[in-house]
Symmetry: C2
């Protein structure tokens, strides 16, 4: 029986740089969105809805798309409803279902904020990587995403 396979120096550096990069970047992006009174979570919802036909999505689909629990999404949408960014609408086909729908205000908000947010993502992340690095990143991470999705 063999002992635990500790991470090599290379492995550890890669793993820790991912963790540090992510934490710092999210803090920064969140911070830069605060100027518009949005959180990163709000933003993610707005993007998803704005890209969907009818500017609406079923709650479950939205939860899956944003990788969060239904419960969490439900609270999140309640808060955004209170802010006037979205509304809930009943679903006719499946009477258990609910749509989250972007309001005009929500639409205007994402239109206004998106350019700034994209600029932030560029400044702190995308523009600091070459095209090759971006391709390599996607090639590395996509299979891991697939793997993790199969687990649940």
């Amino acid at each position: 029986m063999t002992g635990p396979r500790w991470l090599s120096a290379t492995e550890q550096r890669a793993w820790r740089s991912h963790l540090a990069m992510h934490k710092l970047l999210m803090h920064r992006l969140d911070r830069e969105l605060q100027e518009f009174e949005l959180s990163l979570n709000d933003y993610e919802i707005l993007v998803n809805l704005s890209e969907s036909p009818g500017r609406r999505m079923r709650m479950s689909d939205l939860a899956d798309a944003t990788i969060q629990s239904r419960s969490r999404l439900s609270h999140q949408i309640s808060r955004m409803e209170a802010k006037g960014l979205v509304v809930r609408e009943d679903c006719r086909d499946d009477r258990r279902g609910t749509f989250a729908v972007l309001t005009d205000d929500g639409w205007a908000t994402i239109q206004r904020v998106a350019p700034h947010h994209v600029a932030s993502v560029r400044e702190h992340f995308v523009d600091r990587l070459s095209d090759d690095q971006l391709d390599a990143l996607e090639a590395a991470y996509t299979p891991i995403v697939e793997h993790l999705k199969t687990l649940r």
Copy 2:
């Protein structure tokens, strides 16, 4: 005046794969730690303390090392103190200061859990990347970490 520079398809895929990978991976690692009644945050504290001389760190240093606010760390340490994993000790040199110190129980816990956690990190991340990919990842992310640290 030019319009916003939207992300290209490549850029968007890379960015979104990073985000999705991270969320899924953290959920999974957190989940696998739950078996040992630890959160990822608990684990990170234990690792930092266990790697420090005297199994202790100043609160501020620990906050910096784990990239979180002093307030958040303070609450976090209080919870871990309640669980018996760490204790606070006054600092003699600087009487404003406090050490977080690993208890014997905290030390035993990290010894016991680390092999399992490392195995998780391998299974879901490290072992899914080649050495070249790991090097490339570190090379890509480390400069971004440096950049973000200068911002605060």
